[in-house]
Symmetry: C2
Subunit: 744 residues, 2 copies
């Protein structure tokens, strides 16, 4: 405690040395930017429309008056919502003051800031005690940081309108104390590699730039120096301090981003982190261009925007990697900002203009103006999402996310997660995949168990089912050994490992392959999964071939779930539904699954056909007679209906060596208006394992038209030029490269 | 059998007397119609677009060739689909021949008819033995009749192209035998009051008009005379012969339609029946105008089109009354035809043009031309769906369907079924309701248990779960006594009764009321349900007040289910989820419900809030401490996944006198993009029963803003002018008319 107090004192001294030398605005809006915007008012539709929308919203708020209540509520509650609305409105009002020159907006911001300056000095930490880092205005410092990131912009915009006395008052009573509170007073929040810390760093950095406070800026960029604190966990179970780890904005830019711009927590948190990263980079570029934020780590921020846009389905919705609330998309404000900033400070990528056009609004600054002018001039080119590999890890060597997309209009998107743990928001889902058809989930990743900002559901915070269900392996389309999650569901162990990419080859658009290995999830068991997106004239639509190769030291029970959606139309195997429903297991998420029924196939493969959104889908999977085919549904041990009752189909094998081979087809259609069913049947007659070993996985696929194909994957030599030759059932297959695919 | 043979002989004699005197085409297209169409080609966008679409489809079929396979398959199978495609294509090809004059279309129809004339004489009844009235081309006569209704039109269109020899050949080998087969050879199909018979009557009538065969026409219009056959049941459990009942087209027009144009089987079957009714009426109007088909029963056919358009939600989808496959809408072909015919032969109702515009296509005849010209000329006015009462029963005295719609943009639609049994497709759901918000189901009627035309699901036919689940009372939002369906689920008993309308008052758009009584569903128990759509400034959106008044001779268990959709957000009462799931009961549909949990309220009311499609909904229902609040889900005893796993909330009371009073609110919104939750809480603080008797139902509604309202319904005097005065808890309420609603 004493130690902390000393740091505060030192900071205050440093701060006192800075003056009022800088020009304003110069954080996001610049003087030149404002000049350009004023010169173009009424001439740039997208900009003008956004401006009109923002003006209407702010005017309505000004009409209602200023409310700065004493903080009390959790997320979703009145004081939380009010303070959030306040910072959003202040930021917009500041911008309106600059652009429109109407001092009503400056007055609104000034009065509100004064109210905060009255309130803040006496505020204790927030009465809600749930956070590892309680804020003052909100229940957690994260939200206080949000407040400051937005409010710093408002302050910058009206800075020149304020008297020196007002500036001094606000900085003394409100901004400096808050910056210290968020950093030196709460180091467990500020000095981490984590999206929370990024917000904290940026909050402090933004206000430092407006106040022209170099010491604070230094703290924001490089963290609190020489801090020694006991390690601990945050609310999500993440490590607070890792020995020897750097801190501050730049470290947060280096660590969680891979060289490809993938953020290890996943797209949902990357979307959230993108706003502070990009807005502060813009601010630094304006105020301290010598820092070259957009060039840092080979331009990782601009790559991050591109990565994020590629981590979306056809509708622009982010893949549900790790903790992710579904439905979040690039239509969110932070992506509007990110796209505009990336366009302006990047190399004016015209395909970003088409995203901006879809978004239908722009950031109200020089970046948004440039984008809106580009759109007006018809310069937008399509943003083509391609099959792409996004490496994970600060050095790009901790596995990767592999995305395969079918060539025709992005109709199919397969996302395979062969990456690192993903920090505290990570799920135990090595080699898992999800599949989208026309922007709808064909096989889903469950996402998170949380209702963000819905007060009735644990104040909008994470639900206990996030840990007991959503993070567990069984909640994902990947293999589970002995009803135990990967790494035994242990965060420490999981964080030490990552999957290893084996092959990512999308050169041939008709045979795209992603393959990866996982040797640490279950010690003694080697998992390798190869997924192929196959476009072939024998199928109406592209199909996915899924080869999950399992080789273990000893016999185990292996489950491979497929979280489909829709209604079962037919099965070519026998199954019985249960007369009373029991849970499928007791722990590791199994306690949340109802077992609805079970069957088995007498053939070498089993086909299940279902219908969803008036399209038919079929899964054909290889079986032996001892395999169990299980029907389940989420929702057991869910006392408050926190989970969605989605269905699952699970293939269960007891073995030490198995190839779970499956073909996933999309076929036909149904119309409830014409009542015509087209192509309602699977095209697959049989799927057969030809070889299952660490060296090779081979299957034979026979179609109803009589055609038979063989696919062989070389599992331990990914060379494109090496030759292979193996004998299977009296026939010798010879080929060059990692896979063989041919008609028999 | 001997008797039947004699009828056939007589008919053949009569047929032989007719000649080739009539002009062609004169069935649907007329000579003048063709002339008008030709004169307008290329000038009427909607007509031209439909023509181009039809031409492309037919040209593609002609390209493929002619296939007339030996009948073999059930619905969904190859021969079924092929013969269906044949008649649809022939009809269109015939029209193209008339409009475009290209004889390739005439040749296509002629060649196909010749192939049928070769096949037909030797055909036995269809090998699939499932139908009570097996066809020859299809598994049931119904489909054979479809074939003839369409093919008669094709025949009429190419009649003049054929040689007399060809005409004689086709009539002798194909059309006359088929007309006899569908009528005198299968009287159990032809001579009923049923949609099947309507198709049969029309098939025979259409071909009779083309062949100018008055005897056949007489049979079509009035049925087979003096037929005596044993009674029996059809596949759906419907009575085949009812003593003294008339038959034929005109009887089918009189019986099942109410004077308001409501068809007693429900909207789904009315939609299906509308095509033969309307197309034959058009044919009669063209060929035998003296029959005045559109004036029959005070113009019931035109009223029927209006009724059907009103029996849809905001998206134009039909309400799921009785056996109904959801998603069927007025975009179906039969409604395109019906709308065009109603416009042309009715009084040129300009609001029908807006439906036609939405439909985006027209019937290719003089009616479609008139509609398309009207649309082109911008004459379309909005089709405003209103709150409406549609009486049931041939004389309009067998109850009614009551529809309440909120005034702003049809945002809410309440459908209450207070009607008759609905023939063999009826459900045991007296006083049930369904509710729609913005075209989406808020509280659903389950619909049917069938996958129409999906071969894997029982050949596309009705599933056994239709009887064991979908028809049962528990599958509906209405009261169930002692876990037994209305009328004990007995069709004979149910068919004898109907509910009685009590009040339908929609004059005040802010307080719309529908109320009905049911005294026969459970002998000794009087059920009265009053539903109010209330638009009040204290609520963000219109709310529904539901008063289900139950008065029984003795104590019983009463269940009132609410089939909601979406995810539970909160409950203000305690409940426990079950650790293993059992069915809620053993019979009458209860065996298909999983009991998920149960609770009870210590207050006088209980509130449940859920979210669906990013809107919040709340149900507040009056409770006593002994009431059970049950959470359930459909899907038990469903060995083949024929049922949808939809959720239900059930209020259970053990009593001889109860008022199940509920308030249904729609409130707020959630965005997965902004992650903002607006107005996520119910506005209701408490709901309290003030009086529950045969004479009066009274409730007190207290809102969170402190306002309290009292609603009283006079249950045994619907007069608008009579005065009431009752004392409740020391306070006297006096009013005039059937209900009281005021702020306390
Ligand atoms: Ca995941
Ligand atoms: Ca999507
Ligand atoms: Ca609808
Ligand atoms: Mg979508
Ligand atoms: Mg997950
Ligand atoms: Mg029903
Ligand atoms: Mg809809």
């Amino acid at each position: 405690m004493l130690y902390l107090k000393r740091i505060v004192l030192i900071c205050c001294v440093l701060v006192a040395q800075s003056g009022f030398s800088q020009e304003h605005p110069n954080l996001i809006l610049t003087k030149q930017g404002v000049k350009d915007i004023k010169a173009n008012l009424g001439k740039v539709p997208l900009f003008d429309a956004t401006l009109a929308e923002v003006k209407a919203r702010v005017d309505a708020e000004i009409e209602k008056g200023i409310f700065v209540p004493v903080p009390k509520d959790m997320a979703g509650g009145y004081t939380h919502v009010r303070h959030k609305l306040n910072y959003l409105t202040m930021q917009e009002a500041g911008v309106l003051y600059q652009i429109l020159g109407d001092k009503i907006y400056a007055i609104y911001v000034r009065e509100m800031l004064m109210a905060y300056a009255d309130l803040y000095p006496e505020l204790p930490r927030h009465p809600q005690e749930r956070s590892y880092a309680r804020g003052k205005l909100f229940w957690q410092c994260l939200n206080d940081s949000n407040w400051l990131v937005y409010t710093a912009q408002a302050y910058d915009c009206i800075y020149d309108y304020l008297s020196k006395k007002e500036v001094k008052h606000l900085e003394k009573k409100l901004f400096k104390p808050m910056a210290d509170f968020l950093s030196v007073d709460t180091p467990q929040f500020f000095n981490r590699i984590h999206n929370h810390s990024t917000w904290g760093n940026v909050a402090v950095g933004m206000i430092a730039l407006v106040m022209d406070d170099d010491a604070l800026l230094d703290r924001a960029l490089y963290g609190i120096k020489d801090l020694k604190l006991d390690a601990g966990k945050d609310n999500d179970g993440g490590d607070i301090f890792v020995e020897g780890q750097k801190a501050g904005f730049l470290a947060n830019l280096e660590e969680p981003f891979s060289p490809d711009g993938y953020y290890t927590e996943g797209a949902y948190y990357q979307r959230y982190a993108m706003y502070p990263f990009m807005i502060f980079a813009e601010a630094l570029q304006n105020a301290k261009p010598e820092i070259k934020p957009f060039e840092h780590k080979n331009g990782v921020l601009l790559k991050g925007v591109d990565a994020l846009l590629n981590l979306t389905d056809k509708d622009g919705e982010f893949f549900a990697l790790n903790d992710s609330q579904k439905g979040m998309s690039y239509f969110t404000e932070s992506l509007v900002s990110a796209v505009d900033i990336a366009y302006y400070y990047g190399d004016k990528d015209l395909s970003l203009l088409s995203i901006a056009k879809e978004q239908g609004r722009v950031q109200l600054d020089q970046t948004g103006l440039a984008v809106a002018i580009g759109v007006r001039e018809g310069k937008a080119t399509p943003f083509e999402k391609k099959s792409i590999l996004l490496t994970d890890g600060a050095n790009g060597d901790e596995g990767a996310i592999g995305i395969l997309r079918s060539t025709k209009h992005d109709a199919f998107t397969l996302v395979m997660k062969n990456a690192a743990q993903g920090l505290s928001h990570g799920h135990y889902d090595k080699l898992s995949f999800s599949l989208f058809h026309e922007g709808e989930e064909l096989f889903q990743d469950y996402g998170l168990a949380r209702f963000v900002n819905i007060e009735q559901k644990n104040g909008g915070g994470y639900l206990k089912e996030n840990k007991t269900w959503a993070k567990q392996t069984i909640a994902h389309n990947t293999i589970i050994q002995d009803e135990t999650s990967h790494f035994n569901g242990d965060y420490e162990i999981g964080s030490k490992h990552h999957s290893d990419m084996y092959v990512f080859d999308v050169k041939n658009p008709d045979i795209q392959i992603v393959s990866a290995k996982e040797k640490n999830a279950y010690p003694g068991t080697l998992l390798q999964r190869t997924m192929v997106m196959l476009n072939h004239s024998d199928f109406e639509q592209p199909v996915v071939l899924d080869l999950m190769q399992v080789n273990a030291d000893a016999k185990h029970q292996f489950d491979l779930p497929f979280y489909y959606f829709g209604q079962i139309i037919s099965a070519d195997f026998n199954y019985n539904k249960d007369e009373t429903l029991h849970t499928l297991g007791k722990a590791h998420g199994y306690q949340h699954l109802w077992k609805e029924g079970e069957g088995g196939s007498k053939n070498e493969s089993a086909t299940l056909t279902w219908r969803n959104n008036n399209t038919f889908y079929s899964l054909t999977t290889t079986t032996s007679q001892s395999d169990k085919l299980i029907f389940g549904r989420i929702g057991a041990n869910d006392p408050e209906y926190n989970l969605r009752p989605d269905p699952v189909f699970i293939v269960r094998k007891n073995t030490d060596n198995a190839l779970f081979a499956s073909v996933i087809e999309t076929h036909g259609s149904y119309s409830t208006v014409s009542e015509l069913a087209k192509n309602a049947f699977s095209n697959v007659k049989a799927l057969k394992v030809l070889q299952s070993s660490k060296a090779y996985s081979a299957v034979e696929l026979t179609l109803k038209n009589g055609h038979t194909y063989v696919f062989i994957m070389a599992n331990s030599n990914a060379s494109k030029t090496d030759k292979h030759s193996i004998a299977i059932g009296g026939k010798t297959y010879s080929w060059t490269g990692v896979y063989y695919f041919n008609k028999l």
